[in-house]
Amino acid sequence: MFRFQSLDDDCTLEEEEGLVEEEDEIDQFNDDTFGAGAIDDDWQEEHARLAELDERVRDGVGGSGDVSTASLPAPARCIPSSLPPPGLEERGGGDLAESLTRLILGTDPAIAGVGAAEPDRVRLPPPSHQQAPPSTLPGASHPLLGYQQHQHLLRRGTAPLQMNSHSIWENNMGFGPVSVAPGLGAHMEDSPLMSIIKEVGLPKRPPPIRSDENRDLSERVPPPRASSPVIGSPPVRAVPIGTPPKQPMSHVLNQQLHCPTAVHVRAPVQHRYPPPFPERLSPNTLLNIANSPLCRHPFSAGVGPVLSQIQRAQLLSSQVGAFPRGGPAPPLLPGGGGGFRPFFGQPPPRVGPHIPPNHNAVRHNTTHLHPQHRRMLTQRLQSRGDRGGRVGDRRIRDPYSNLMTQREKDWVARIQMMQLQSTDPYLDDYYYQNYYEKMEKRQERDRDSSRKEHTTKLITPQVAKLEHAYKPVQFAGSLGKLTVSSVNNPRKMIDAVVTSRTDDEEKREKQVWNKRRQILYTVEKMYSLLLEVQDFEKKFIQTPEEQREALLEQHKTHTLQLYNTLREREWDDRVSDEQCLMIMSVRKGKRLVSRLLHFLPPPQAAAVVMAIARNMPALAKKDKQDQVLCWLVEPVAVVIQSLSSSALTDLLQELQGSEGQLPRVLQNKFGVTLLYLILSEGERMQSSDPNCQLMDDNRWTELVFSVTRELLNVPPSSLSPPLFTPPNLLSLFSRYVDRQRLELLQEKLQISALSR
């Protein structure tokens, strides 16, 4: 914060026209953290004004006599410790009383300016001597005291028994004694201007006069650091990119810190442009300003002068009387001198007429609190109003108070509050909610004995979580997005962008999915049919005789339906290659076929096996991962055993297919097994029945020959081991090949002679 300030300080002084435009940028970093508008008071502006004032005053009154009168008689030590707070002393007589009435009248912001302006002109000179609080001391013949004495005095006022450390510090700090001589030059010219402002309304950029609201800043003005403000300073000038959108919520958040009970909306103007004299200005405030030693010490002076300058500024404010600075102001003040606005002090919005003077600075909107909690808070607030005056008194006279501005305090408070924000209080804050619910009930019970509780309560912000819709900026043609990270928007490591695909791609993918869905749907349908068919036997037994006919009929249609789904055309008995491949391309489908074969009538089952043999290479290719085809072996073997010789020849023909199909079939476990099954069945036929047609069938012999040749040619690596080897294969081959080749085959197929 301090760094910000020093940097901006310089900037501001250099180019003041730019100020108005830049206002929005100044708080970007805070905005990032708290949202826009979170921090309302524009310290930069204030600072600029302060600086201007400084210059102006220097020009105006610069020559008006040397003020730094040397050590005045120090009445401090002879002052009785029971001295009441200086702000309350009113020895000014009629003048003071009159000004007081004006002050009270001036509580209304509307007439505040008038009240402030008029006394300046009319009555400045007389009260200057009597009204400065220190002058109220009994022993003080001279109205003005050295700062040190003054401080001493003030401390004594509150803490009669003085701590040792005080003297240490007072001696060490070396505050020069300061006195103020009357001289009004500068302020006579100011007052009309002010009233003009009042009448005309507030200008966009308030005139420098208002800088007397900037007590706070001056109090904490560090020695000028114009030389190197850069190191470590954030780039205030740079326009932050991708900051979160300004949220109206933050405004509310800000208010929460100030007003606990009610949400009162401050006029937006108030934030930036408070009335020039929101609080009444005492005649001698201006007098003191005019005569302040500040006039002769420009800020750019060396460290020593600056220090003392600050001290003098503080002296001024303390001389003017007791003012609300920071914390709770004593309730007495508004009536007494407290309403005066010291030369330097708090930022305007804090002391503005909206905030009751005895409000504690840090408060919260309680609208989100549990109703019971809220009630208690308001109660306590009322009771708190009475206390704290004394504490305030002491603080008021502390020249170093408010080194931490309200803004900074708010910042800390907000940081802490942010951690407690909750969107769902019942989820996040279950015990808090229940605690207050319970307390409510308990209070209802013993309402009669309403005893006061003195427990401490943690203030929590029951605020709905702010929506931080963060949109990083992206420039056309740039590769990425520029991100600015903050508490609320941590930098994104990956920013995924949704790319819209072309219609073509989408359609294709859709088609693929549609097809797959179609297959699965078909398989599903067949399964339900199959289950019906499977359950037939059970049903058949259970149903009475007369209904069995119908059931049988139904079973037949079911079976037919099952087969029909595989068929190409209604009239064609042939199983559709496409359909077969389609169904058997999914694992479920293969299992379906293996279960289906049992229930199909032999011709249809044969047709299915035929189709399988025909599409063996394609099926084998798709089965590489699943290895589900082997499930088919058992039902297929059953079917093969029931085939006629010609059908068997057909099947072998189908399996061998066109040129180059057999080697591919041989690479598949199921393919090899199927081939063996066929050959074995043929051999069985031949050996069992010498007059078998198969012997006469040249086709069969030719096929077996070609198969044998293929088996001999195929390298062992591309011959898959079969699921099992039928024992009669050797005798089959012995019919067709010579001894040498038979041995070769035997070795290759690992047919053991013993198994025969």
Partner: protein, 133 residues
């Protein structure tokens, strides 16, 4: 009385006189001027107070910035009751001397104790060794 969460509760204490006990055992007294969310403190017009028996002495330290993690205890000093104390303030030299004497005495006592334990066959690890785990 309500308080704010976390270090924000310290905001109410700003510009009041505080006593801070640090982790290394030092006691600071000064005006709390500034805090942040880590409870880093800026103390103004700080004195380091040394207590020995019924005597105490203040060593002026000026502005003291304390890293929040080093704070063991922080409390406001009631300026009105501040001087209601039975303790007697002495000069810096005197208190330092007292402190030195106290520490020396403590050391000797420790030594004697260690020796006594050793005689009985017991050893106590040195505290500075314990610190480094």
């Amino acid at each position: 009385m309500n308080y704010m969460p976390g270090t924000a509760s310290l905001i109410e204490d700003i510009d009041k006189k505080h006593l801070v006990l640090l982790r290394d055992g030092r006691t600071l007294i000064g005006f709390l001027r500034s805090i942040d969310q880590f409870a880093n403190l800026v103390l103004h017009q700080t004195v380091e107070r040394i207590h020995v028996g019924k005597k105490y002495g203040d060593i002026p330290r000026g502005i003291f910035i304390v890293r929040g993690e080093n704070v063991v205890l922080l409390g406001e000093i009631d300026l009105e009751k501040e001087c209601d104390t039975v303790l007697q303030q002495v000069s810096i030299e005197e208190i330092l001397e007292e402190q030195r004497a106290q520490q020396q005495a403590k050391q000797e006592a420790e030594k004697a104790k260690l020796q006594a334990l050793k005689d009985r066959g017991l050893t106590v690890p040195r505290t500075d060794m314990l610190d480094e785990y």
